[in-house]
Symmetry: C2
Subunit: 142 residues, 2 copies
DNA sequence: CTGACTGCAAAAGGTTTGCAAAAAG
DNA sequence: CTTTTTGCAAACCTTTTGCAGTCAG
């Protein structure tokens, strides 16, 4: 799995550095993570790595297609491995819980956007806000 | 249309203030607007209004259901009138353009989320990231 | 009058940038 | 050896908060 990430970078004219390797590993390990969380993870191994390096590295990794990010809440974005199965985030605006559903569930929707307006959806990057089942239930009682 | 917004506020135990009226009007006039843009609009009439008041006011207006917000790009959220027709934002991650589609287009998708996981989608608050038709076309040439 | 609301200034995230030193190829 | 990349510190932008004065009810 962690095969040719270095080739991908090199092919795009980027250099291979320990920082880039560590950030990529951290993204893979954490699954969903903010830049700050990635920093913490990376610093377990290399304490001297700086937050700005995390940001610059994520930008590069995303550019070459090794990671993606999504905006989940109001705060920091979260980064995902592209090796992970594509998924869509359902964000509960009441309790802030985030649940993921398989990207295929949105197959029809994505197809509709393509047919109707020629829009190519980045499934991993879709945030659906609303209320989760438990909050809907809780509210029904009032 | 600008009927009983004051009654709505009062019913929720909030007071009626010029600032609240102005912010609500600004949201209705601008359609899509960030807090900063709303401040500018409001200050055309009342120059002394403060940005923090905009934020606090939007929080109140949203709480009572007079406005909604969505996260469009990486930056500031944009606020919408609830009188506006519900729509979904398609955000192009390449050229940053934002296009809106009618909420009904997502009817099936919303229904699927309700059936499958009991999630009640806030349609106005959904951001779909990806590439718009023109950027897809442009990229195909390379 | 009394509590809610506002303006102001300061603090608190989160992200970006300039620059000199360090490292990759 | 040349160019990219990094660490550090400072700047930046957006949003939040504490507080004292003001205003709505």
């Amino acid at each position: 799995m962690a095969r040719d990430w270095d080739a991908v970078l090199r092919d795009h004219g980027f250099r291979i550095t320990p920082q880039r390797q560590l950030v990529l590993e951290a993204v893979n390990v954490l699954g969903h993570a903010t830049p700050e969380e990635l920093l913490n993870e990376v610093q377990k191994t290399a304490g001297a790595v700086n937050l700005s390096t995390i940001y610059r590295t994520l930008e590069v990794l995303e550019q070459v297609g090794l990671v993606t990010h999504a905006h989940i809440g109001h705060g920091a974005p979260t980064y995902h491995s592209v090796e992970e199965e594509a998924h869509i985030h359902l964000v509960c605006d009441t309790c802030q819980a985030v649940q993921s559903i398989h990207a295929e569930s949105a197959e029809l929707f994505v197809q509709m956007l393509r047919d109707k307006v020629g829009f190519e959806t980045d499934v991993a990057h879709v945030s659906v806000h609303g209320q989760c089942a438990s909050c809907v239930g809780r509210q029904a009682l009032l």
